[in-house]
């Protein structure tokens, strides 16, 4: 019997393949160059991306921007920071969405889209793969997660 994969399923499968086969690289956590926020710990970063914290440790409002599930950076980041698989993350957010306790961070397509948001909005905190090599003039690298 021939099985036809739904395009979304194919994307998800592709995403999984990326994390399992590609060599794990660094994830760079970035903010606007003018944002003087202190570098958070991975636990604080996890709290920010899971909507448990709306402020950074030094009391600044931040707006996390996540990446699409299809990117390698997404799987790297969540493996290392929130410790959640896509499915658990989805269940986590379903609890919050359907009880009116929060919406997940906006998800953008790729590193380039994160860079664009970080460079134009000083409140945004995002992450990119180390392959994107952002210039220090355009963004401030808060944290390098090996």
């Amino acid at each position: 019997m021939r099985t036809v994969l739904h395009p979304l399923a194919r994307l998800a499968f592709f995403g999984l393949m990326l994390t399992s086969s590609a060599a794990r690289g660094e994830v760079l956590v970035i903010v606007h160059p003018e944002n003087q926020v202190d570098a958070p710990t991975t636990q604080q970063l996890s709290d920010i991306f899971l909507g448990k914290e709306r402020l950074t440790p030094d009391g600044r409002m931040v707006q996390p921007v996540d990446q699409s599930e299809t990117t390698a950076a997404f799987h790297e980041f969540h493996y290392k920071v929130t410790g959640m698989s896509s499915s658990r993350l989805q269940a986590y957010w379903a609890k919050r969405i359907f009880t009116g306790r929060g919406q997940p961070p906006q998800r953008v397509d790729d590193d380039a889209a994160v860079l664009e948001m970080v460079t134009t909005d000083p409140t945004v905190i995002g992450y990119v793969s180390d392959k994107s090599e952002p210039s220090a003039r355009k963004v401030r690298i808060l944290l390098r997660i090996p």
Binding site: M61, E69, A94, F98, Q103, T120, D121
Partner: protein, 459 residues
């Protein structure tokens, strides 16, 4: 009309009045606004480029540029850059103004007895017990205010068992984020009685085919109320988070008790609960109380009432009762192990049943597979209040009138096919009924096996 009912009607009316505003923003309107924003951003960017180009061409040939002209063009540049940034932010905000989310479950369940579990599952294929569809719209009115509505259509509407897939509004409220740590909500909200009460229909969020019947079978029927709540994040340190929720409200609804449909009004329902979180650990403690009045009594209870009055030689009524729910819950999931459980106590005045119920679940993740085991137990705790002579005592063929006892063992497997879609298979053995009906419509008289298969999605 009771004063409290009138007071709770106000936020609902407010919320309803606002919903046309949310609906008025049609797709075309949103698209038109996006195009407008895009056009304006492009125009600003073009202007910015022109000023930048002008600045370099002017600055290069002039050895000592005139300071006033230089600073004026710098100012203009900075102003334009700010405008572009704020336009882009406005664009993004507009884009995220209306959020639609949904959940759906399709399930089939069967058992080896004709007596129905949760007034639904019995020895025939049942496609309604675990089937549900929900759609939620979040509309951001402004930076701090949101309007949220959620429609839920259940395969079996427990309260009105003859209507299938009748959509009901379970949430419709205005929410006001007063401070980052303080949110006020008014309108129709979900009763947060137990740990997962507020999302008990979103199957994707838990491992089982349905929340454990021992704890959620009876209480799960009290779904929404009309009133207010306050959500407050307590400031804690060291990675701990705490959220305090307090509510007040009431609503008329219909529940099934002992297999009969009863009209009940909840008035002055108040409750407070606290949720503690530390990394993968969540703890829950809740206290709720309400005035419960019966608007309709089923025949069995009416008979019981009449018989009781004859027996006691005085007027005993079940028209207005004081009821309380208390619960403690825990949930731990580190991606390998899952542990969760709840211990609950339900009390109601006089001779209606008080219960004690709990469940505990353990599971282990193997990639996308989550095999899990649950033990659940329910028993009535005030049997001595209900030792009545015939005919009352014989009404439900139980040792004492309305007694209910049961234990269950559930072995289940959840398979996360892909993010947003989970498949579940479950086998449940229900025993220790001790001659009572437990959560069945009538005493099954033997141990019961229940098989369930469910597909859960969120989108």
């Amino acid at each position: 009309m009771p004063a409290s009912r009138f007071r709770t009607a106000i936020p609902v009316a407010l919320a309803m009045a606002l919903s046309p505003a949310a609906q008025a923003l049609t797709e075309e309107e949103i698209l038109r606004r996006f195009e407008e924003y895009e056009r304006r951003i492009e125009a600003l960017e073009a202007e910015l480029r022109a000023v930048k180009a002008g600045k370099t061409t002017v600055a290069a040939p002039v050895a000592t540029p005139e300071p006033t002209a230089q600073s004026a063009s710098d100012k203009k540049l900075a102003r334009l850059e700010r405008q572009v940034t704020s336009m882009q932010r406005a664009f993004r905000q507009e884009e995220g103004r209306l959020q639609l989310n949904g959940f759906a479950s399709a399930g089939v369940a069967t058992s080896n007895v004709s007596q129905q579990l949760n007034t639904q599952i019995h020895d025939d294929w049942d496609f309604n017990a675990d089937s549900v569809f929900g759609l939620q719209a979040n509309f951001r009115v402004n930076k701090k205010t949101q309007f949220v509505s959620q429609f839920v259509a259940r395969g079996v509407d427990e309260a009105r068992s003859e209507d299938e897939f009748d959509a009901r509004v379970e949430w419709a409220y205005l929410s006001y984020q007063h401070r980052p740590d303080l949110k006020l909500r008014a309108g129709r909200l979900r009763l947060p009685i137990f740990m997962i009460s507020e999302y008990q229909e979103v199957g994707y969020t838990y491992p089982w085919a349905r929340p454990p019947s021992e704890v959620y079978g009876l209480v799960g029927q009290f779904t929404a109320y009309d009133g207010f709540d306050v959500l407050y994040d307590l400031p804690l340190r060291g990675g701990w988070h705490a959220n305090l929720q307090a509510y007040w409200g009431g609503r008329a609804s219909t529940v099934l008790l002992a297999g009969s449909s009863i009209g009940v009004d909840l008035d002055d329902a108040v409750g407070v609960n606290v949720r503690l979180n530390y990394r993968d650990l969540d703890l829950f403690a809740g206290y709720n109380r309400a005035d419960l009045s019966f608007s309709t009594l089923p025949a069995s209870l009416a008979t019981a009432e009449a018989a009781l009055n004859a027996f006691a030689g005085q007027t005993l009524t079940v028209r207005k009762e004081d009821l309380t729910f208390k619960a403690l819950g825990w949930h731990y999931d580190d991606g390998d192990w899952l542990f969760m459980g709840e211990y609950t106590i339900f009390n109601i005045d006089e001779w209606l049943i008080d219960t004690e119920a709990y469940y505990a679940t353990v599971g282990h993740h193997f990639g996308r597979f989550l095999p899990h085991f649950t033990f659940g137990k329910l028993n009535t705790t005030d049997g001595s209040n209900r030792i009545f002579p015939a005919p009352v005592g014989n009404l439900r063929n139980a040792p004492t009138f309305l007694d209910a006892e049961q234990s269950s063992w559930t072995l289940g497997l959840r398979y996360d096919h892909m993010p947003g879609i989970a498949l579940k298979f479950e086998w449940q053995r229900i025993a220790d009924l001790n001659g009572t009906a437990g959560l069945f419509t009538a005493p099954p008289g033997k141990d019961v096996d229940v098989w369930s298969f469910v597909i859960d999605t969120v989108f």
